[in-house]
């Protein structure tokens, strides 16, 4: 039963075109290792360098967003200060394109701002996104936002289609936030 159960779980992932999927506590070390595996996998398949760079860049920005902004964190001291952020990153292919999905819990109080930023980016064309990126590069970082805006613009810039996103309410204080990018 054990093998049967996990085989069907794996098969479900395979059928969705998923190359790999990570769910749980994300750290910079995991980001590095998953990113490295991702680049190797794409290189083995002779993916062109431009696509590899775009997919990798979106992956890094999404994973760092989870690390920084996930509302589901554990922290403590195990000889050194440790903070772990929970979230999900899934990478796969469908219709000859790569897709990268990230998900994490966000505070209800952060939802309107994030929604505004993403809706603004969805409406922009390629040139507008590029100009907006440059404008944000020149600006001092926003309070409390260790570079969130520029990270989202970088993601939008590398995407082949407008970013898809959604918020699923968990309770009155939090949402499950999900974003999908195709390249």
């Amino acid at each position: 039963m054990l093998a049967k159960y996990y085989r069907s779980f794996k098969k479900d992932l395979d059928q969705r075109g998923i190359i790999f999927s990570f769910s749980g506590y994300m750290s910079e070390g995991i980001l590095y290792s998953l990113g490295d595996a991702l680049r190797q996998k794409m290189a083995l398949e002779d993916t062109n360098i431009s696509t590899v760079k775009k997919v990798f860049s979106v992956f890094v920005e999404q994973a760092q967003n989870i690390i920084r902004y996930s509302a589901e964190k554990v922290s403590g001291d195990i000889g050194r200060a440790v903070e772990l952020s929970s979230g999900m990153v899934t990478i796969g292919t469908e219709n000859n394109r790569f897709f990268i999905v990230c998900a994490n819990v966000v505070l209800a109080s952060d939802e309107p701002k994030l929604r505004d930023r993403l809706e603004r980016l969805q409406k922009m064309g390629k040139d507008e996104i590029k100009a907006y990126y440059k404008e944000q590069l020149r600006e001092a970082p926003e309070e409390q936002s260790r570079g969130a805006t520029i990270g989202l613009i970088e993601i939008a810039r590398r995407a082949s289609e407008p970013i898809e996103f959604d918020f699923d309410p968990i309770d009155k204080d939090s949402f499950f936030f999900c974003m999908k990018v195709s390249i």
Binding site: E28, Y32, N48, I49, S50, K53, K54, F56, S57, V60, E61, Q64, I67, K130, Y133, K134, L137, R138, P141, R146, G147, I150, G151, I153, E154, R158
Partner: protein
């Protein structure tokens, strides 16, 4: 002043600032957890060096293959520092290296160069910069 040499790590670039010769190199990839921790020491060394005010030639090479958005912000700050120093009379030549098939890095070079008024900027395609 003392040269600044920092070895590359998995997620941060190699820094090779030879202040005596006026040859500064940033090489590799940059997507650290905390960009300010990586770029802080680089900024302060560069700032001190440029403020020394000797009107000599400075060569700065950016040989980067990937950087994340918070590193891009730090690079923008560096370009602003370099351009200010060039405006004040230091002759600064920046070379931005990229692999010929790497459109992203080429475009970043073009983007950064648009804001430079006083620095001499070269966009250099190199086969082995992979």
């Amino acid at each position: 002043m003392n040269n600044l040499k920092i070895a590359a790590t998995e997620r941060s670039p190699e820094v090779d600032f030879d202040f005596e010769r006026g040859v500064l190199v940033l090489r590799g990839e940059s997507y650290p957890e905390d960009a300010s921790a990586i770029f802080g020491p680089i900024f302060s060394a560069l700032e001190t060096f440029l403020a020394e005010g000797e009107k000599r030639e400075v060569k700065m090479d950016f040989d980067l293959t990937y950087f994340n958005s918070s590193s891009a912000k730090a690079l923008m700050n560096m370009f602003q520092m370099l351009d200010h120093a060039a405006a004040a009379g230091t002759k600064i030549t920046v070379s931005w290296f990229f692999a010929p098939d790497d459109d992203t890095m080429k475009e970043f070079g073009e983007d950064f160069s648009e804001d430079l008024k006083h620095v001499i900027f070269n966009l250099v395609a190199v086969e082995d910069a992979a």
